[in-house]
C-alpha cells in the first residue's frame, strides 16, 4: 500500500448504502382510486425490496472499494526464497539505439539478445533496461524483479533505433552517474554494434561503473558497405554551382546522386568513387532566384543505411543590400563609405542611400546591414527603430559626427559624446577581431580632431587612441550587434578615408556585419542550434512533418533548437520565417566495428567496488534487511480493470432492476 491515505475514500461506501435506504423510503407514490379500502402500514415491508437491491448495492460497494484500492496503489508482495535471494544480481541491459543499429539485421539481433538476457534472469534478480543514443541515455524499464520480466520484455519490443549517434564513452559516463546505492552485484550488459566511430577520445571513458561486471554483446552482420553524403556546398565566386561530397565505407557501392532545390529536381548524376572512398558531384549553372533555398541531395544507392543517403541544406542566394543613412547622400563621407562597401567581391553588396526622413519608406529587415553616417541626424523614433532592428539580429555600423556632438549623445547606443581637441594616433588595436587584421597599418592613420565617448560595461573597444580613449566600439544587441566609430570619415577630422587601409577596413566590416549570421542554417541530429529568434520574442518551430516542436527551454522558447529528425525545420518569428536543415551525424555512417583487441581491453576495464567486491556471493545482501528479498506487484491496473467490469455489471443490473420497479 503506497498511498494509504486514499483508504479514506472507503468512507464513500456509505453513499450507496445511504442512497439505497433513501430509495426504499422515498418511493414514487402509486395513484389509486381511493384509500377507503386500504390499510396504512407503519412497518414497511422492505424485506423483499432489500433483497431485490442487495445485488446492486453489493456491486456498487465493490466498485467503490476497487477504485479506492487502485488509487491507494495496493501491492501484492511475494517473498523470494532465500536461496534465490542470495544469488540475486542486478542485470543492467544497455541497448544501443543509435542510427547504425538500423543497418541490416543488427536491431533484430539486439532485441533477441536482450530478450534472452531478460528471460535468463532469475526471479530474485533485478532488471534494468537502458537505451543509449545521442545525448539520451534513459531508463526504459525497471528496476524490477526478474519475476516481472514481462514489463521489461514489452519495453524492448516497443523500442526502435533512432537517428542519433552513440558515443560509447558518453553512454558509460551517464550510466555511472546513475549508479546508486546498489546492494546487488551488477552485471552490465552492453548490446551494441560496437562502432569504431563511437569510441571516445580517451579509452578510459569506457570504464564501467565500479563493481559492475561488464558483458559486451556485439551484434554485427555483413552489411558494412555504406555510403553517405557528407556535405553540400555552393561554390564559385558567383555561387552558381553546387558541390555534393560523399564518402563510401566498406567498399564502393554504385549509385546515383540526385539534387532537389526547393522540391524541384535539379538533376541526377552517377557517382564516381575515388580510390580514397570519396566522391563528389557538381551541379553547375544554377539559376537560383535571390533568397533562401532548400537543397536536398539524395544518394540513390543500395547500402546498409538509408538515413545518411539524404542531405539537407539551406543556402542564401542573394546580393545583400546595405542601407546607408546620411543627411547628405552626396557628401564625401557617404561616397567613400558606399564605394568601399561595394568594392567587396563576395558577398557582392548593393548600397542604398537614404536621408533620415526617407527611412520610414524602407523595411529594415530587407537589409543585411545598416550604416549610419553621423548618428546625430537621427530622431529618437528612428534611433529606437534601428535599435529594435539590431536586437532582432541585424547589424549596424554607426559613425559619429558634428551632429552627434551637437546633440551630445549617440541616440542608438546612448553613449555621451563630446569633442576633444588635439591630434592623436591609434594606440591599441584588438587584432583578434576579424575586421582588424592590419594593426600596424592603423598606427599610420592620423586624427586631427577627436570625440570622446564613454563605453558601457560589456562593450568591446576594438580601437583605442594613444591616450586610451576608445575609437571603435562593438556592442551586442541581443541577437544583433552595433559597431560604433567615434569619428566621422571626413578628411577634416582624419585621413582614414584616403588611407590604403580604409577600403579593406570598410569592406571587412561590411562582410563581418552581413556575412556572419547570428543564426546557423544547419544542424546535426541531437545537436543544438540557435534559431535567430531573440529571447523573449514570439517564435514557433515546426519539424519536417509540420508539427510544432518545443525549443530547448520549453514550448514558449524558440531561441534554440535540438533537432530530432532529418529534414527542414521551419522557424517562424514576428519578422520572418527561415529554415534550418537537420542531418544525421555522418560518423554513424562508418559501420566498421571496434577492433577485437580493443573490445577485449574494454572488457578488462572492470573496476571492483569496495562494497560489492566483497559481496561476490551475495552474503552481505543476504544478511542485510534488504527489501529485494521480496518482490511487489502493483495491483492498480488489475483493480482498475475490475472496477470497469464492475461498473458495466452495475449498469446492466441497475437497468434491469429499475425496469422492474417502473413496471410495478
Amino acid at each position: 500500500m503506497l498511498t494509504p491515505w486514499f483508504l479514506v475514500g472507503l468512507l464513500a461506501i456509505g453513499l450507496p448504502w445511504w442512497l439505497h435506504r433513501l430509495a426504499r423510503s422515498e418511493t414514487t407514490p402509486q395513484a389509486f382510486p381511493s384509500l377507503m379500502l386500504l390499510e396504512r402500514s407503519d412497518l414497511r415491508d422492505t424485506r423483499k425490496r432489500q433483497l431485490r437491491y442487495l445485488a446492486l448495492l453489493a456491486l456498487r460497494i465493490a466498485l467503490l472499494i476497487a477504485i479506492v484500492l487502485a488509487f491507494a496503489q495496493l501491492q501484492w508482495v511475494t517473498k523470494i526464497p532465500a536461496a534465490l535471494a542470495s544469488q540475486a544480481r542486478m542485470h543492467v541491459i544497455v541497448l544501443d539505439t543509435s542510427l547504425s543499429m538500423r543497418a541490416g539485421t543488427r536491431w533484430q539481433q539486439a532485441k533477441e539478445k536482450a530478450t534472452q538476457l531478460i528471460d535468463a534472469a532469475r526471479a530474485g534478480d533485478q532488471l534494468l533496461l537502458i537505451s543509449a543514443s545521442g545525448r539520451k541515455v534513459q531508463v526504459l524499464a525497471g528496476p524490477v524483479a526478474g519475476i516481472e520480466r514481462a514489463r521489461v520484455r514489452s519495453a524492448v519490443a516497443t523500442l526502435a533505433p533512432g537517428p542519433e549517434r552513440l558515443d560509447l564513452g558518453l553512454a558509460m559516463a551517464s550510466i555511472k552517474t546513475w549508479q546508486t546505492q546498489q546492494q546487488l552485484p551488477m552485471e552490465l550488459h552492453v548490446i551494441s554494434d560496437m562502432q569504431a566511430s563511437g569510441s571516445p577520445l580517451q579509452f578510459a571513458d569506457l570504464e564501467p561503473p565500479a563493481g559492475a561486471k561488464l558483458l559486451l554483446h556485439a551484434v554485427q552482420d555483413d552489411s558494412t558497405a555504406n555510403a553517405a553524403i557528407t556535405s553540400v556546398e555552393l561554390s564559385g565566386g558567383e555561387r552558381r554551382s553546387l558541390t555534393v561530397s560523399m564518402h563510401g565505407y566498406g567498399g564502393p557501392v554504385a549509385g546515383i546522386i540526385a539534387m532537389t532545390v526547393d522540391d524541384r529536381e535539379l538533376g541526377k548524376q552517377a557517382v564516381q568513387w575515388q580510390s580514397d572512398g570519396t566522391a563528389s558531384a557538381t551541379f553547375a549553372d544554377l539559376k537560383l532566384a535571390p533568397g533562401s533555398h532548400r537543397l536536398h541531395a539524395q544518394l540513390q544507392v543500395n547500402d546498409a543505411l538509408n538515413d545518411d543517403n539524404h542531405y539537407y541544406a539551406v543556402v542564401e542566394h542573394t546580393d545583400p543590400r546595405v542601407l546607408l543613412i546620411a543627411r547628405n547622400p552626396q557628401a564625401d563621407e557617404v561616397a567613400y563609405l558606399a564605394a568601399a562597401i561595394e568594392s567587396l567581391a563576395a558577398p557582392r553588396l548593393v548600397v542604398t542611400r537614404v536621408m533620415p526622413d526617407q527611412l520610414s519608406a524602407h523595411t529594415l529587415a530587407e537589409y543585411a546591414a545598416v550604416v549610419v553616417a553621423d548618428s546625430g541626424v537621427l530622431s529618437e523614433a528612428m534611433a529606437e527603430r534601428l535599435s529594435k532592428q539590431a536586437a532582432s539580429g541585424s547589424a549596424l555600423f554607426v559613425t559619429l559626427g558634428p551632429q552627434a556632438v551637437r546633440v551630445g549623445a549617440d541616440p542608438i547606443t546612448g553613449m555621451k559624446v563630446r569633442e576633444l581637441g588635439g591630434a592623436m594616433r591609434i594606440g591599441a588595436v584588438d587584432d583578434s577581431h576579424p575586421i582588424l587584421r592590419e594593426p600596424e597599418a592603423w598606427r599610420g592613420v592620423r586624427f586631427f580632431k577627436r570625440m570622446h565617448v564613454t563605453p558601457a560595461e560589456g562593450d568591446r573597444s576594438l580601437l583605442r587612441f594613444e591616450d586610451g580613449a576608445p575609437l571603435l566600439i562593438e556592442r551586442s544587441f541581443e541577437a544583433g550587434r552595433v559597431l560604433l566609430m567615434a569619428a566621422p570619415l571626413d578628411r577634416e577630422w582624419n585621413d582614414l578615408a584616403v588611407h590604403p587601409l580604409f577600403v579593406r577596413f570598410i569592406a571587412e566590416t561590411a562582410r563581418y556585419l552581413t556575412g556572419d549570421d547570428a543564426a546557423a542554417a544547419s544542424a546535426q541530429i541531437d545537436g543544438t542550434v540557435a534559431t535567430g529568434v531573440p529571447a523573449g520574442a514570439a517564435g514557433q518551430i515546426f519539424d519536417p512533418q509540420g508539427k510544432r516542436v518545443s525549443g530547448l527551454a520549453g514550448r514558449e522558447d524558440a531561441t534554440h533548437l535540438s533537432p530530432q529528425q532529418t529534414g527542414f525545420y521551419e522557424v517562424r518569428s514576428a519578422n520572418h520565417s527561415r529554415f534550418i536543415a537537420a542531418n544525421v551525424d555522418t560518423r554513424e555512417s562508418d559501420l566498421t566495428p571496434l577492433a577485437p583487441d580493443l573490445v577485449q581491453k574494454w572488457q578488462a576495464l572492470e573496476k571492483p567496488s569496495v562494497a560489492v567486491a566483497a559481496n561476490a556471493t551475495g552474503a552481505q545482501y543476504r544478511d542485510s534487511p534488504n527489501p529485494r528479498d521480496r518482490f511487489t506487484q502493483d495491483l492498480g491496473p488489475l483493480l482498475l480493470i475490475l472496477a470497469v467490469l464492475l461498473a458495466l455489471t452495475e449498469l446492466l443490473v441497475a437497468n434491469y432492476r429499475l425496469q422492474v420497479v417502473r413496471d410495478a
Partner: protein
C-alpha cells in the same frame, strides 16, 4: 373454430377505446350482443300493449295509432306495459376516482361505453333517455327525450364528460330528485367508493318514489386483484392523501375488504329496492350488456 364477426372483434374494451365515435361504440356493443342473443330482446322494457292515451303536444307522432285516428278522428298514443319504467336516466359518476385505469380503458371511459350502449338500447325502443353527471355534486343534467336526433346529442354529452373532483353521492343524489320527478329506470354507473349507508340514504328516496334503480359498479382489474406484491405507497386520486400499504395486506386482506364492501353494497341495494351489478373494465362490453339483460329478466 369459427371466425368472430367484425362487430364482435370490436367489442373488447381496449378495441372500443380506439374508436373515436361513441355512437359507433354503442352500436357495435349493442348489435354485438344482439347477435349473440339469437332472439328479440326485451331489454327490460315491456312491449305488451296496455292502453291508449290522448295525444298531447310533444308526443312523438310515430306512436300515434293512425287506425284509431281514422276511426275516431282523435289522436291516441299507444301505451305499453312497463312504459312507466321506460324513461331511462343514466346517472354517470365522473369523480376523480373514475379516472383510474391500469390498462387502455379507464373506469370513466368504460362507464361512458356502458352509458352510451344503454342509451342506444333505449333509442332502439323509442324510449326517452337522459343523462345526469355527478361527482361532489350534480354537474350536468340532460332531460330524457326520445325525439329524432336526441340520441346523437346524448352520446355527445356522454362523450364530453371528464373526471372531476371527489365523490359526494348523498349530496349529488339529493340534487337529482327534482330532475327525476317521473318514474323510470335509473342506471347509476359508478365505482361506488362511498359509505354504504350514504348510498342507502341517496338511493332509497328514489326507490320510494317508484324509480327502478340499477347500480352498476365499475371496477378496474387492478382494484379487484392488485398486482403489487411489495409494500407500496399509494395516493388517493380524490383526496391526494398518501398511505404506505404493506405487501402482505395487498396480497391477502385487501381482497377480503373489497369483498366485504361489495357485500355491503349488495345488501344496501337490496334494502333500498335497487339492483346491483359489478362490471370490470376488462370485460367485453357485450358480455356486460348480456349480464345486464339477464339480470333485468330475472327481475321481470
Amino acid at each position: 373454430m369459427s371466425t368472430p364477426s367484425p362487430i364482435a372483434r370490436l367489442l373488447p374494451p381496449s378495441t372500443l377505446a380506439g374508436l373515436a365515435n361513441l355512437e359507433l361504440v354503442a352500436r357495435a356493443a349493442v348489435e354485438g350482443f344482439l347477435i349473440g342473443l339469437h332472439r328479440s330482446p326485451r331489454f327490460g322494457f315491456s312491449q305488451e300493449f296496455k292502453e291508449y292515451r290522448a295525444y298531447v303536444e310533444g308526443d312523438d307522432p310515430r306512436f300515434v295509432d293512425w287506425n284509431v285516428y281514422a276511426r275516431t278522428d282523435r289522436a291516441y298514443i299507444k301505451r305499453y306495459e312497463g312504459e312507466t319504467n321506460t324513461r331511462l336516466m343514466v346517472v354517470l359518476d365522473a369523480s376523480a376516482s373514475m379516472g383510474y385505469g391500469s390498462h387502455a380503458v379507464s373506469k370513466l371511459q368504460y362507464a361512458k361505453f356502458l352509458a352510451a350502449a344503454l342509451a342506444y338500447l333505449a333509442s332502439r325502443q323509442h324510449d326517452p333517455a337522459g343523462l345526469l353527471v355527478f361527482d361532489t355534486q350534480l354537474r350536468q343534467y340532460r332531460p330524457p327525450t326520445a325525439r329524432a336526433g336526441s340520441l346523437l346529442g346524448l352520446l355527445h354529452a356522454i362523450d364530453a364528460v371528464t373526471v372531476g373532483g371527489p365523490t359526494d353521492i348523498e349530496k349529488s343524489f339529493h340534487g337529482m330528485r327534482e330532475h327525476l320527478s317521473r318514474r323510470g329506470l335509473v342506471a347509476v354507473i359508478s365505482d361506488l367508493y362511498c359509505d354504504p349507508d350514504a348510498l342507502l340514504r341517496a338511493v332509497q328516496p328514489l326507490a320510494v318514489h317508484g324509480h327502478d334503480i340499477m347500480l352498476l359498479q365499475v371496477l378496474d382489474p387492478q382494484e379487484v386483484n392488485p398486482q403489487w406484491r411489495d409494500a407500496t405507497l399509494f395516493q388517493d386520486m380524490e383526496t391526494q392523501e398518501r398511505a404506505n400499504v404493506s405487501g402482505e395486506f395487498l396480497r391477502e386482506r385487501y381482497r377480503q375488504r373489497l369483498d366485504a364492501h361489495i357485500a355491503d353494497l349488495r345488501r344496501t341495494a337490496a334494502n333500498a329496492g335497487a339492483q346491483y351489478m359489478q362490471v370490470s373494465t376488462d370485460e367485453p362490453l357485450d358480455h356486460a350488456l348480456r349480464r345486464y339483460l339477464l339480470f333485468r329478466e330475472g327481475r321481470h
